[in-house]
Every structure is written in structure tokens, then in C-alpha cells.
Symmetry: C3
Subunit: 273 residues, 3 copies
């Protein structure tokens, strides 16, 4: 049950190591605290192996990668594998530059991930080795809609099998698959795309859910996606007439803070395919 | 008309490449989303040329420059010029250190900018090669007031001519000139100076306005300044008794999100000199 | 009197140089503005000596240290000492990695600090050269409670004597000592630990209080701690039913913005031991 997944995060309070971008890092930290986890950010090559050693999981986000942090991503990822920590990849902007595509693909080759989370254009870039990402947003032609859903589910299952890990694609409709089954999730609101960092927050939260539910990875990843989407709905319901995207950002994190197992179980809208 | 300038941003949704500081970067991203543009942040030398290639414009902000990002600023700026993308310089803290002054001046020499936006002390530093900036705020002796306005307008026109681009000086009174004409803008509130990053946000928004209004640069830059100032007024009108500068920050971005052409046209307070 | 300490910050508006982490930097900037100070962030080795020269104080925070910023911390710290500027160390995560512990200890050896502020696990790491920090949070076994208070006061006094500067340990109960006296402060709320960066904000504010009250360092540091804790209480009193940790973050900074000498004097809860 999804409720157990979030309850486990709150009970175990996992410490999550993040090598992430400087754009959304503060919101990521507060989102991790909001769901019951503890964040630590560290990206120097001389400390990332120490840091992952005291953490339950590692969240690698390439949103503002640079030559120094790239080195740290590989060091931390390999150490996490050695220590059997959970590791997640958020390939922000893969397809937008050769560097991002190459590093994301190389990370997939050299690090064993438990999950990869991105928008559909980023995931297609990983699957095909090149892409047409519109910056950090999904290309319109790629967007998963009801009429292209069957094809998308099939694509995600195939890619999850190839990648050997859970793949989560978020957008209008969210898909989470381990290669066998696929959660099709319809939580969230379109206005979330006007808030920077909801994807980055989700990747952090998903890492925490994986750590707190080690033997139930697929459901844990789906529970994280439902938590984020539902928080977007709850946050929106608290919006006042003069509120815009900046206040919405706060209300979404606030809603994660207020989320509990019962709210999640009741509000999650998904089917299994 | 100013209204067309913002309507074009919302219609065209330009993608803006930002090489910027890590202090205000999240607010910059949300402000760009709020006005209808899309942000991407990327500062590694190995990707900035790729990134500017898929973007409509480049916003260079030296707020926390370092040896690596300085290299990237020149690479991206030159590539933007080759590709005829719009480029804006925000010389944050020019005058506060030799490094900032030197890099800002060197950027002006080697990159062709469409606009430069700063406070009066920063702009004077660019004009005279040295300055007396009080950190990242304007020096009190420099502040443009009604009784020093004529002199300031004349200075900005001269400097815009020398620089060969639009120059926007923001403060109590804002000036935007292309060397011939000068918008004198009286939107905004003094309390905005207690919120970090409103200048950085404006530089990003201005880049988006320039991209979406390529043949109407002066008016586009002025429309961006009016949008930011008016958002400061609208945001303030929504303040509750216990609200302070942090909530004000959110309310300003919220107001940008709510801004449309008619609100802007009606609320903009400017004269042309 | 505490009230004079905050009044002096608002009157003198000290400029504070911060070499800090990218997680909480925006909140730090707004918290400094909220208390009446001016922030500047600069971490490149080629400018930190210039920047500290125009500032009243330096706040060194190792939260996301890297090889480049480490060099800058030593350069800026030494220059600050030469120029007799106030310098504060926030050893974020000392004990969580060998690098953080080593750099924090080395900074203490090579730079003369006016104050060190951290949680109890970080401070124990500095005192004993190794620690068991849980990431960036205090280890549960270390937490100062009423029944371990006498021992903690004695430890802090001893360590402040050894370090030759003010030591502030914040947590459930806050302790601020110069080696002779120790303020025992009971402001604040437990929910502040669910907001990232309140410690970082306090370190910045404390630097500003030290600069504005140069001959009254112990009381200034205690006043900063009371200000932050009281802001946490005031911010909480403004929470609405749907508000969570993200809105709480804003309300705390808002409360600093609203704080004045009389509110502080009346709300501060401390004893001297």
C-alpha cells in the first residue's frame, strides 16, 4: 500500500546525499525535510565518498553539472554501488547539450541506478542517445497524452528493462515502471510546470522513498510520484486570488509537509498496466 | 505599446540561457516562468555554446562569478553574437572588486550586448572604469533623484551611445535609453531594496522581452522595467500586517505571474525624454 | 541591553561578506536584509580580499565547500584578520566527512575567529577533532537537554576558552559563551529544524550583530540568537492551518524583518550562567 511507503519515510527519516543543481537546491532540501527525510548536499570529490557512506541514498541531478561535480557524480555513484546504497539519476536537460547527453548516458553505463526520473524528452534522449529537449522542459511532440498512452507505456517498460532499473517519466500523465508493471498516475496539475524544481524535488523524495522501502521499490517510486502530484493538487486548493507561481511553490512543499499515509492513499489516482 | 511587449513574451515563450549567480537563481527562474518565458541555467564551458544555440537569448550576471564561469561567459557571449541571439549584461557588484570591474569591462569590449542593466553605481563603474559601489547596492551619493534627474538622463544617453546598446539603470527612478531617447520610469517601491534579487530577476525578464520583441528593443526593455516595478507595487498591495521581505519576494513574483498587457499598460508610469 | 544590539544593526547597516553554501544562500541574503544589514556573496580567490576590504565582517560557512572556495576561505579569513574585521565560522557538517572536519579545524588554527556557531555535534567535532554528526543535523545522543545542561555549559565554556572566541551552540536550548559567562537561551521552536537554513541565517545575522556592536561581542552574539529564536516563535504564531515548512521559512524571515529592539527585549528568554 502506498500509505506504508510514506509512513516508512517518516518513521525512518533517511539521510539523502544530493549532488544537484544550484537552481532548485533549497526547495529540494525543504521538500526532503517535508516528507520526513534529511538532506545533505555535498559535491566536492574529496568528500562525496565519505558523505554517501553515512547516507541511505544518493540523488544525482545534472541540472547545472560542471567538470568538478561530474567527477564527484561518478565517485559517489560508484561508492554508493559498493555500499549498496540506493541511487537515483535525474538527467535534467539531457538532449539540450552534448555534454548533458553524454554524461547522463555515461552515468547509466558506469553506475547501477535503482531509478531514473525525468520528463519524456530526457528519457527518450537516454533511450536513443540523442534528443530534442526544449531546454529543461519536454518537447511538445513528446508529451504523453491519453491517445498516445499505450505506446508510451510500452516504451517505458522496454526502456526500464534495458536500463535494468525503475524508470519514472513525469508530465501530464506520469508513468513508473520496473519493466514488468507500469503505474499510470493521474495526479498533479498543469500549473506545476510554471514552478521551477518540482521535478528535482520529486527526484529527491523518490530517493528517500526507495531508501525507506528497500524491498518494495516499484511501489515506493510510485508513491513518491503520487505524493508530489497530490501535493500539487492540495497546494493549488489553498491558492488565494492574488497568488501566483512563487506562492504555489511554497504551498506545494507545505502540502508535502502535511501529507500522511491516509491522505495519500485516498488521493492517489493510478492504475497498473 | 508596452502591452504588446509582454503579450509577445507570453505568446512566444522564449527560452533564456542564464549564466548567473547562485544567490538569486531560483527566483530568477520563477520570475522567467512567471512572465511566460522558459529558463535554463548552464555554466560549464563544455556546454554553454550548445545551450545558447537552442535559446533565444543569453543573460550574463556576474553576481558570483568565478574563474570557471568567467570563461563560460565569454564563450557563450561570443557564440550568441555569432548566432545573433540577444545578449544582456548584469554587472552585479562592478566596482566592489577589481575582478568584477575588470571582467564587466572586458565583457563589454569583447561581446556585443543588446542591453546592460544595473544600478547607478555599477553603470558608473562601467562608464568610468572604476567605482565606489557599496557591495551590490548603489552608493548613496550616486542615487538618482528628481533634482539630479536631468544630469542622470544625459549621462545614461551618453553612455548608451558609447556602449552601443540599451542601458537600463534601476533604482528609485529607473532610466532606459538607447542613446537617443530615454524612458524615465517611476514604478516600483522602496521596499523592493530589502528583497534580494529583484534586479537579477529584472535582467532575466528583460532578456526575454528583448527576444520576444526583436525589432522594438527600447520599448521592450522599458516594458520589462515597468513590469518589474508594477509587480513590486501590486505585490505590496497584497501584503498582510505580519508579512515581511521574504513574503514580499513571493508576492512580487506572483504579481509578475498575474501581469497581463492591460494591467501593464494601465499601471506603467513613465515619460520619454 | 539586547535591544541596543539590534538597534545598532539597523542604524549602521553593516555590509557582510559571505562565503557560504548554495543551499541556503538566498535565505541568508534575505535574513541579513531583514535584520538591517547588507549581504554580499563572493567566493572567487581573485576577489575575496577586495570584497572583505569593503565589508564590516566575514561569515564563513562550509556547507558546500569545494577546493576552490576552501582556498578563498583562508584568503578572506586572513585578510579579515589583517584588517581587524569580525569573522565568524559556521562549521556545517563538520564530522560528516573527513574534509569538513579537517578544513574546519584548519580554519580555526589559521584564522582568528570572533565567533563560531554550530550545532552541538559540529562543535564537539571541533573540540575533539572527530565527531559523529548525522549529516548536517546534530546526533541525537549529543542534544542538550535540561538534564544535561550543566555539563554542556561547562563544555562550551571550556571550548570557548580554548578557541579564544565566542562559541554559540544552537539546538533545543542555545548556549553562547565567551569562556567566562554563558547565555542559556530558550527561544525558538522545534519545528525550525524542519526548515533548511535557519542555522546558516543565524550565522549571517550574528556576524552583522558583531560588526554593529564591536565592543560588546558576547551580548551581540546572544542578541542574534534570541532574535532568530524569537522570529521562529513569531513566525509560528502567524501560521495558518494549511501552512507547512516552506511557508514557515518565509514567516521566520518576515518576523526578523518585523523585529525591533522592544519586541526582542520583551521576548528574549535567557539566563546567564
Amino acid at each position: 500500500m502506498l500509505k506504508e511507503c510514506i509512513n516508512n519515510v517518516r518513521k525512518k527519516a533517511p539521510l539523502i546525499h544530493n549532488i544537484t543543481n544550484y537552481v532548485t537546491v533549497n526547495d529540494l532540501a525543504n521538500a526532503l525535510l517535508a516528507c520526513g527525510a534529511s538532506p545533505i548536499m555535498a559535491d566536492d570529490r574529496d568528500e562525496v565518498e565519505d558523505i554517501i557512506s553515512i547516507c541511505g541514498g544518493l540523488n544525482i541531478n545534472i541540472g547545472t553539472l560542471n567538470k568538478d561535480t561530474i567527477t564527484s557524480m561518478f565517485l559517489a555513484g560508484n561508492k554508493a554501488n559498493q555500499l549498496r546504497r540506493k541511487v537515483l539519476l535525474d538527467p535534467v536537460g539531457a538532449g539540450a547539450s552534448r555534454l548533458r547527453t553524454d554524461i547522463a548516458v555515461k552515468l547509466m553505463r558506469e553506475v547501477k541506478f535503482n531509478a531514473i526520473r525525468g520528463n519524456i524528452s530526457e528519457i527518450k534522449t537516454l533511450a536513443f542517445g540523442s534528443g530534442r529537449t526544449k531546454g529543461v522542459d519536454a518537447d511538445l511532440a513528446d508529451v504523453i497524452r491519453e491517445d498516445s498512452l499505450d505506446k508510451a507505456v510500452s516504451f517505458i517498460k522496454t526502456f526500464a528493462n534495458e536500463a535494468g532499473c525503475i524508470v519514472a517519466v513525469t508530465g501530464q500523465i506520469d508513468l513508473v515502471s520496473d519493466g514488468n508493471q507500469c503505474y499510470v498516475i493521474r495526479n498533479g496539475r498543469a500549473e506545476m510546470s510554471k514552478v521551477t524544481g518540482t521535478g528535482c524535488q520529486l527526484s529527491g523524495i523518490m530517493t528517500a522513498f526507495l531508501v525507506a522501502n528497500p524491498d518494495n521499490e516499484l511501489e515506493a517510486a510510485a508513491a513518491a510520484v503520487c505524493t508530489m502530484g497530490l501535493a500539487g493538487e492540495m497546494g493549488w486548493s489553498n491558492m488565494q486570488p492574488s497568488d501566483g507561481n512563487s506562492t504555489y511553490k511554497n504551498r506545494i512543499i507545505d502540502a508535502i509537509y502535511k501529507m500522511d499515509g491516509d491522505i495519500l492513499e485516498k488521493g492517489a489516482r493510478y492504475e497498473l498496466r
